[in-house]
Symmetry: C2
Subunit: 444 residues, 2 copies
């Protein structure tokens, strides 16, 4: 039995994701594909646009055999922590041979070399270089990369690591090396839009009726700036400067939707139908849906801000100092971000405060997922599930345990679902859907 | 120096309030009038429509000499606790001779007799009657009144206690008797609309431009039911059945505003100008502004619900049980209320949860205000302030103390302000105004 893993957000699922899944299957020659997917909040520290159940269904429709939930602590963590969570979860299952991920450079050897370097102890001259670039004002990810280039004398003619996908690819590889994971890396060259690209094809037609909640979507998308790139820690955005992409990015699709454009050509038909159904019921969230909840939470002052995951003393000070100028989640992020502390890092920290996610003594912890929750599977994948049950080092959760028996991480997951559902309930006017009553998706 | 006190909400200030203030001055022959006013949340457990500073200014413009803030714990308490708080605060000042309040019945003797009865220990036969009426399904306030009527053989031809003003009048009198307060009761017969009346004059013209936030106001006022009577614990509403009132109630004015009607004839011109200014900036709150905050809070489960003030074990059970059907603050109140547990009681309990207001061991406490915060005064009232400083048993707060030095009640007041300001900030898009930087109003 050959099994390949994918770590993804599918926010929402688009043709690029489909292409990746098909290429992963072809290149690995696997029998099964397991997708480990972000839950109701994503790595940029914002709510997932769509419900995780809908996104899991999209992935299954597109060919995934099993969809597992990436615990919220990892899903809304730094690129490093996100990658570690996914790699660890897949490795723990005891049956996965390979990890397939997208990257924007064909220079996989350079990626491997850099990742291998990062997974080992840092030599002193490199540390000095790192400090120099940090002092010069580079973000941590960028300073680290520049230090390595200089230290190793590596050339960078192709702009390696100028794309968020490469940054994530590096982190996957690094996690694999550090954990001595058995996963075989299978990079797939992205042929579509970068994560930054917000552009669809030049003449994307307007789709009438797709934006029934006219009041909300356009309001959230008054400016392009509002839709920031996915998973970018440190990047050189070149908005709209790229050629017309073959595949739109998820951010591009969300932006197009906010303008009322037709995105049907960018998604598999089944995924598009699911998306339309959700939009027609107002069941989607935008970053601006966090405006009031975060504001309320920041004024509560129940705990010291530094108790929360990823909130440094400096950031806590800045939050307290700038709170009187708060008018919204993204506006506040803009106030808080610096050259060193990127927008996504700030957003994640704010999300941790909102979700009450604390870290032991205020530092990012190194917990790895100790359970794998099933969101759905294809019936044909039953042999895969049996194998996992035989070999997995962590429990495969197909039914939520009683609240008291739930592992700490799962409780955090359930709190996050709750927040997502309460926020979407405000938009739909319908009551909150109970996570405990929702059924795993089983595709015939 | 003769000083008369008034306990009020002024939500917003209208001609009926002006009439009451003028009558109070005339009947008492006082030199000064002190208004003790609800802060940013009112007795029905909902946000004040307007900012307390604006309402304090309205009262000063209309002739009050000094406006003090009723601490939130009393302002959002039961009629009994509200009255106790106000009476205690005024009595503690050491300079107030009289309390003037409105009532709907001219039978002041009956009110006094009933209040005196309630302020003493209950005789056994009365207790039995009370139990009987409670078992028959009457609310506590009503059962108590029926038990007294039967016990004392009193006739009730005038429908005494069928109005919320009379209920409050009873509680003022009862507090005065129980505390052996030196305040002389000065009831003023209301000549205008009852608290239930939502009607203005039959031909109230529409005021163009007064409802700039068209989106919010009409939504909140889709039905008359939504604007419930002020301060009514147990009443027999007769909506729209009364003759055209001389004075509209505050609820009537809020309702008229929600319909975009011109209310200028119902308010003193200065108050109307202040109201218009606030509306033009979207600086007002409706009960629906609590929809999301309360929903978020109820899902937080940080403390047991019975820890909060006025949340009985039965109510806590019902909240938990019905939470999955929550779609809004008022809708949830409707779900929760019973014949015995009135809408206002439920709303107050929910507000206490939202504000994190706890009671020692879950029972309503009997704390009395231990400070008097000044919101504003007329310069001509400086001798009054000096007299208070000389004679008051509690500190007169004209400047907020540092957070650590603030009495417990004042911290609760500041939390409540914070919530009101965060909610209004969401509506206006402007940052929160800092309570510590706001200046007392001093009228020349």
């Amino acid at each position: 039995m050959k099994v390949t893993g994918i770590i993804a957000e599918y926010n929402p699922f688009h043709n690029g994701h489909l292409h990746h899944m098909q290429m992963a299957r072809r290149q690995s020659g696997c029998d099964y594909i397991i997708a480990v997917m972000s839950p109701d909040f994503v790595q940029r520290g914002i709510p997932a646009f769509l419900d995780k159940w809908v996104r899991a269904r999209m992935a299954l429709d597109a060919g995934a055999d099993l969809v597992l939930e990436l615990p919220i602590r990892h899903a809304a963590g730094s690129a490093e922590y996100f990658a570690k969570g996914g790699v660890s979860l897949l490795s723990s299952l005891g049956v996965v041979d390979a990890l397939s991920f997208g990257c924007e450079t064909g220079r996989i050897e350079s990626l491997m070399e850099y990742a291998r370097f990062l997974s080992k102890e840092e030599p002193e001259p490199y540390k000095a270089l790192l400090q120099r670039f940090l002092k010069e004002g580079a973000s941590f990810a960028r300073a680290r990369y520049l230090a390595w280039l200089t230290f190793s004398g590596t050339q960078d003619p192709h702009g390696l690591l100028h794309s968020p996908n490469d940054i994530l690819a590096i982190e996957y590889l690094r996690a694999i090396f550090q954990m001595k994971s058995p996963l075989q890396p299978i990079p797939i060259l992205r042929s579509g839009a970068g994560y930054h690209d917000l552009q669809l094809t030049p003449a994307a037609p307007r789709l009438s009726g797709l934006n029934p909640s006219g009041a909300s979507l356009p309001e959230d998308a008054s400016g392009v700036q509002k839709i920031a790139p996915d998973m970018a820690e440190d990047t050189h955005p070149a908005l709209f400067s790229s050629p017309v992409p073959d595949y739109a990015s998820a951010a591009g699709i969300r932006h197009a939707l906010s303008l009322g454009l037709d995105v049907s050509s960018q998604m598999p038909p089944a995924a598009f139908r699911l998306l339309s159904g959700e939009l027609s019921q107002n069941r989607y969230l935008m970053p601006s849906d966090l405006d009031l909840p975060l504001h309320l939470k920041l004024y509560e002052k129940k705990a010291s801000l530094t108790d929360y995951l990823d909130v440094s003393e400096d950031l806590a000070r800045r939050i307290t100092h700038l709170l009187p100028r708060y008018t919204g989640f993204e506006q506040f992020t803009t106030l808080l971000k610096t050259k060193q502390v990127t927008r996504t890092r700030v957003q994640r920290a704010l999300l941790h405060i909102l979700l009450g996610m604390k870290a032991p003594s205020g530092h990012p912890d190194s917990r790895i997922p100790d359970y794998a929750r099933v969101l759905g599977f294809r019936r044909a994948a039953l042999p895969l599930l049996h194998e996992i049950k035989k070999h997995s080092a962590i429990p495969l959760i197909t039914r939520l345990p009683a609240e008291k028996q739930a592992p700490h991480g799962l409780k955090e997951d359930l709190d996050a679902v709750c927040l997502w559902e309460v926020l979407v309930s405000k938009k739909t006017g319908a009551p909150v859907r109970n996570e405990r009553q929702r059924q795993m998706i089983i595709l015939p």
